[in-house]
């Protein structure tokens, strides 16, 4: 490992330099740290092949363990949002690009990112069904209720009433953006897909300081 790292050091530094120019929010050192972290995470993979990156399972583990996410569906969607080329692997570039929004994104970037996460079928709209799907586990089921989905449906209606400005019964990107700008709390309206401040801090500390010390 150490040998390999030594051999790759030059490589990594070059890559870091390139990526830090392409991606906002990270300087070269930070990019380098993230690449190291990425490589570290890959290193554990036994069937590692060149060109591939983190697979779905691996990535979800990170989301769960490092960023405390729990919702399977949302984690899948976050993976998809990271995996821009849709090859089922998060490459090092996608990793750094994704993290730049994840950790340090501006509001605009985050709106875009969240919308992508929530737009399950990628058609540019968050439909009633998609909302229902995402919210279906958000309420504690009361055994007494006749229709257990009643509450969820109602919640969807509430959300639509609040966010669907053009009244077409689905959320366009414009709807979503306006709603979030009016009320920032609605950024993660359909499920937590961004880390909270505490885990960001911990992650950055781990990635940028601990890695350097190794």
């Amino acid at each position: 490992m150490a040998e390999m790292s030594a051999m790759n050091r030059k490589l990594i530094q070059n890559l870091a330099e390139t990526l830090s120019k392409q991606v906002k929010h990270f300087n070269k050192t930070e990019a380098e740290c993230l690449i190291r972290l990425f490589n570290g995470l890959l290193g554990d993979q036994s069937d590692r092949r060149v060109g591939n990156g983190l697979d779905r399972g691996k990535f979800r583990n990170i989301l769960h363990n490092t960023f405390g996410m729990t919702d399977d569906m949302i984690m899948d969607r976050v993976f998809r949002a990271f995996d821009k080329d849709n090859d089922s692997y998060v490459s090092v570039k996608e990793w750094i690009e994704g993290l730049s929004i994840f950790l340090r994104g501006t509001l605009d970037e985050k709106i875009k990112y969240c919308f992508d996460v929530y737009d399950l079928n990628g058609d540019g709209y968050i439909s009633r069904e998609e909302m229902f799907h995402m919210l279906k586990n958000s309420l504690i089921r009361q055994p007494t209720e006749e229709d257990p989905d009643e509450g969820i449906k109602d919640l969807v209606e509430i959300t639509l009433k609040k966010m669907d400005h053009d009244h077409d019964s689905r959320l366009s990107y414009a709807d979503f953006e306006k709603a979030v700008r009016d009320e920032n709390l609605l950024l993660e309206a359909f499920g937590t897909c961004l880390p909270d401040a505490k885990s960001i801090l911990e992650f950055e500390q781990h990635a940028f300081q601990d890695t350097l010390e190794h």
Partner: protein, 1015 residues
């Protein structure tokens, strides 16, 4: 009672001396009442019953000798009681057909003897001697009246009790039944459950004194929703507790005013009312009881209205407790609440149970507040909220509201049956359900959706509370979810503008959590929490909670930011917002004295001083607001002066935000008690803006603050000169009419200070200020009177002004203020009288023309207030210049009273006392009398005082006293000569002369003595 009954009873001929009682139901009932009372009197008040009437009761009786028994001496048709008075006259004497009775015990006995003729006898008795309320001779019935006064009653308000209301309702219900004559359609309680204390309101309303709610359907109008409380009855807003009508003293009065049909037909019901034998009988027992308790107030206000209201009066018969029974204040509220809880809970929905818990807690808290009635002077809250429902319990709490309590009592809305609730209620209930049962995502959606309701509207605010939303919102604050916390705080911030919500938040421990949030690294959370605290901490308990949980220190820490750098980063801007909200919260908290102290200790003053340099009004308002609130503390006034804040305050006087200007002026008002501060205001050129602000006459709060600042600044003569330049007095005189009292107090105060300068006295006269000032002497506001008397007194030092004051009879008005119970007013009036007597034409004659005036002022020498004594002595010194008046006051015993005061150590009093004594020596044997009363020796000690003005007056007094040889001996024995010898060398010629004169008298006596002995 005599008075009340006399007025109430319906005499056949009102004017003639011996009227006949008409046979009407009213009279019959009155008679029964009296009868009942008389019958029980001797057993209830054995001592009073023995009291011998000055004048016997005499009437034509139908009783005969045979009716009397063992305790009487019967000789033929005449009967005498064995019981006699001290002179041996029998207490009862019957010489048919007339009978005379000398005491109540006998009267009781007669009534008992008369058995079935009771009523007739009582009636004959009353007719034989109608009671004359105006007549001051002690008529037996008046004794009855005064005796019953002995019982403890201090309130003037009429209170309703549950029993009284119940009886009223029973009565009204009886009106519903009869076909043709019916006056009401139905009378119903909203709740069938009756607590053991007789109330039908939920316990948390009972603490407001509310007894029950009624729905009364009159024949001609909409159903009336009525709240009966101990303070009276009023219409409520159907689904809310809010009072929507005036408060009436009882149901009948209310119905009369609301339903013309009722008013018209109720008179016809009289007879029917009388025919309620069962209730009637029971009630009589209570009636007597009630009469004894609640009598006097009834005779005051009640009767007056009733004289002409037959019908009403008749109804009163049937309401034993009605207006007669005094509510034993909170007893029933505090005692009766504990037990019925369990039962009550069963009957109520879960929801109510929750709010009951609130009420319970609230009540506990209020009781606590009662105990810890703080003695903080504070400012009286200017904008008292109306407290209709709360009046009942208010007197218990009223003391505790000396501190500014904007909202101690407010009508609460009751959680009623679910029928008429607005749609918002249901929607909010649903959202709260999602809040309770949702994960973070659902919670955030529900929170955001809830914010779309009009949270400024009370319906929504209370709906959130009533469906248990507050608990959830406050619980959310304890979670780790920042978004949920933010969302929750955003809602709490809005709804905490409602006073009931504030209390509920405090009861649920929300303040403690919010104080903790102030430590959070998230700035959004910080400022939202601070802003919510600012809203909640509007009542004392909340402010205390904030302090006790370390909130003040944390809030002060929030103030630390860079307020005035030109270009702020986003983060810095947030810091400023956090600081602003921190200042808002401190402003709310600073209304408690302890919090002021805590802010100071936490190092808040320099931070506030720094924020005071901010260019933003929304920052300045809370900062200056806090400062002016805290300026009631001396430590702050010094700090404001030392930290150079006066300059900033003055600068902000020039802004164009009235609220900010008001707070600045108010801060200056409070700080300018201090001379250096007054000078600073002048040096910072703050006087002119203050005068300019006087033109904002429409904004009364601003005007009050501005005039206050001008008043206090005027204490410095340099400032008065400035104000003279700015022609402030002219404007101030214009503000003497049609202003609220808080403005008038300050305007008059300013004029009083200004008038210390002769030129200003002329200005006030020329602007026509004397007349409005004199008119204000008839006011009742004590603070105002103190200032007005001072101003009038200052004006009176000018002869021309005095002419006007004299013409307006101002001196008489001043003199009558000596009767004011407030010692400050007394003193101020007495001081003002001095220049008046000095400058008025024929002042001696004028003073004599005030009937009882001299006696009044002499009697003020019994006061315990030093200032009053000093002022009265000064006035007496002036009065005594007129020989005739001196003679009168001597007759009123001025000499021993003055002599009694001589032991004082107060220099001001000493000086004026010595003056008065000097003057009073000029009449008759007063000199000798002063000596005999032991006034001389203490006077000698005055010469050791450090105050030179005391010396002068004392030397004059001693000079006068030394004309009596015995006094000379006393003086000499007390070592006066040495002291006077020193004073003879004084530069003060008056003192010199008086001292020399006194020594000369002593010397002469000594010489004469020697001559007598050796010559």
């Amino acid at each position: 009672m005599g008075v009340a009954l006399t007025r109430a009873a319906q005499w056949t001929t009102a004017s003639s001396g011996t009227g006949k009682l008409e046979i009407t139901p009213v009279n019959e009932s009155l008679l029964k009442e009296i009868l009942e009372f008389v019958e029980q009197f001797s057993s209830r008040h054995p001592q009073e019953a023995k009291h011998v009437f000055k004048e016997p009761l005499q009437w034509t009786t139908s009783l005969e000798a045979s009716d009397f028994k063992t305790e009487y001496d019967i000789s033929g048709p005449t009967v005498k009681s064995q019981e006699t008075d001290r002179d041996g006259h029998p207490m009862l004497q019957l010489t048919p057909p007339s009978i005379s009775v000398h005491s109540f015990s006998q009267l009781s006995k007669i009534v008992q003897l008369a058995t079935d003729k009771k009523l007739k006898e009582v009636r004959a008795c009353l007719e034989g001697k109608p009671c004359q309320p105006q007549n001051e001779t002690l008529h037996p019935i008046c004794i009855l009246n005064s005796q019953s006064c002995i019982l403890p009653i201090s309130h003037r308000e009429v209170r309703l009790s549950p029993a009284a209301v119940k009886n009223d309702v029973e009565l009204l219900k009886s009106f519903c039944s009869e076909g043709e004559t019916r006056v009401l359609t139905s009378v119903q309680y909203t709740s069938d459950y009756e607590f053991t204390n007789g109330c039908r309101t939920p316990p948390w309303r009972q603490v407001h004194g509310e007894i029950c709610y009624l729905v009364i359907k009159p024949c001609d109008t909409q159903p009336l929703h009525i709240t009966c409380s101990t303070a009276g009855v009023f219409l409520n807003g159907e689904n809310a507790y809010d009072r929507t009508s005036d408060v009436y003293r009882d149901l009948v009065t209310l119905l009369k005013s609301k339903s013309p049909h009722f008013a018209e037909n109720i008179n016809k019901q009289d007879f029917a009312v009388q025919e309620e034998p069962p209730t009637q009988k029971v009630q009589h027992v209570e009636l007597v009881d009630a009469e004894e308790q609640g009598q006097p107030q009834r005779s005051y206000e009640h009767q007056e209205k009733n004289v002409h209201e037959k019908a009403r009066q008749q109804l009163v018969q049937n309401k034993p407790g009605g207006k007669k029974k005094l509510e034993p204040s909170l007893k029933w509220k505090n005692l009766g609440l504990a037990s019925p809880y369990d039962e009550a809970d069963d009957k109520k929905s879960k929801k109510n149970a929750v709010s009951e818990k609130f009420a319970e807690a609230q009540e506990k808290m209020q009781k606590k507040a009662d105990v810890s009635v703080s003695s903080l002077p504070g400012r009286q809250s200017s904008n008292k909220t109306k407290t209709p429902g709360g009046v009942g319990g208010a007197d218990d709490f009223s003391e505790s509201s000396s501190e500014s309590e904007e909202d101690e009592e407010q009508p609460e809305r009751r959680t009623e049956s679910n029928t008429d609730l607005p749609s918002e209620y249901w929607q909010i209930q649903k959202l709260v359900k999602y809040l309770k049962g949702g994960n973070q995502t659902a919670t955030v959606i529900a929170l955001c959706s809830m914010r779309d309701f009009n949270l400024a509207q009370e319906t929504c605010q209370l709906a959130i509370r009533d469906v248990g939303g507050l608990e959830v919102l406050i619980n959310l604050l304890d979670t780790e979810e920042i978004k949920c916390k933010i969302g929750s705080l955003k809602i709490l911030k809005e709804i905490s503008r409602n006073s009931q919500i504030r209390r509920a938040i405090a009861d649920l421990g929300g303040l403690q959590t919010m104080v903790k949030i102030l430590d959070s690294p998230d700035k959004d959370l910080k400022y939202l929490a601070a802003e919510t605290i600012a809203n909640v901490a509007k009542f004392r308990r909340a402010r205390r909670t904030v302090r006790q949980h370390g909130g003040i220190k944390r809030l002060v820490e929030l103030l630390d930011c860079v307020p005035d750098s030109a270009a702020l980063t986003e983060e810095q801007e947030k810091d400023v917002e956090v600081a602003r909200c921190g200042a808002l919260a401190l402003w709310s908290c600073s209304k408690s004295t302890r919090n002021k102290e805590a802010i100071r200790k936490a190092g808040g003053i320099p931070l506030l001083a720094r924020l005071l340099k901010s260019p933003h009004e929304n920052m300045l308002i809370p900062v200056v607001g806090t400062l002016q609130e805290c300026a009631s503390e001396r430590s702050y006034r010094i700090a404001i002066q030392m930290e150079g804040m006066i300059e900033d305050l003055v600068k902000n006087l020039n802004c164009d935000n009235h609220e900010l200007q008001m707070h600045c002026a108010s801060a200056i008002f409070k700080c300018a008690e201090d001379k250096r501060t007054r000078d600073l205001v002048r040096q910072c050129e703050g006087l002119q803006p203050l005068v300019t602000l006087l033109s904002q006459a429409d904004n009364k709060q601003l005007l009050a603050a501005t005039t206050g600042a001008i008043w206090k600044c005027s204490i410095s003569m340099e400032n008065v000169a400035k104000f003279q330049d700015y022609k402030a007095l002219e404007t101030l005189v214009g503000l003497l009419t049609d202003q609220p009292e808080e403005v008038l107090v300050n305007v008059v105060g300013a004029l009083g200070e200004g008038a210390q300068k002769p030129a200003n006295r002329a200005t006030i006269r020329k602007c026509g200020g004397i007349q409005p000032l004199v008119n204000l002497l008839t006011g009742t506001n004590q603070a105002l009177l103190v200032n007005v008397t001072k101003a009038v007194g200052a004006c009176a030092t000018e002869l021309e002004n005095m002419t006007i004051i004299d013409r307006l009879d101002g001196v008489r008005l001043l003199w009558s203020l000596l009767k004011n119970p407030n010692p400050d007013v007394q003193a101020s009036a007495a001081w003002a009288i001095c220049p008046c007597i000095e400058n008025a034409k024929d002042s001696g004659e004028m003073v004599r023309s005030f009937v009882g005036g001299l006696e009044l002022i002499v009697n003020l020498l019994k006061s315990t207030n030093k200032e009053v004594l000093a002022s009265v002595c000064a006035a007496i010194a002036k009065i005594a210049k007129d020989e005739e008046n001196l003679a009168v006051i001597t007759d009123h015993g001025v000499v021993p009273m003055l002599a009694k005061l001589t032991n004082t150590t107060d220099d001001k009093l000493r000086r004026h006392l010595a003056e008065a004594i000097a003057r009073c020596c000029m009449w008759g044997s007063n000199r000798v009398l002063f000596g005999e009363a032991g006034a001389v020796a203490p006077l000698v000690r005055y010469l050791k005082s450090k105050d030179t003005s005391v010396h002068q007056a004392t030397a004059q007094a001693l000079f006068q006293l030394s004309k009596d040889p015995n006094n000379c001996i006393t003086m000499h024995d007390n070592g006066v000569v040495k002291l006077l010898l020193g004073m003879m060398g004084s530069t003060d010629e008056v003192l010199q002369e008086a001292a020399a004169g006194c020594v000369a008298n002593i010397r002469r006596l000594a010489l004469a003595n020697e001559k007598a002995r050796y010559g």
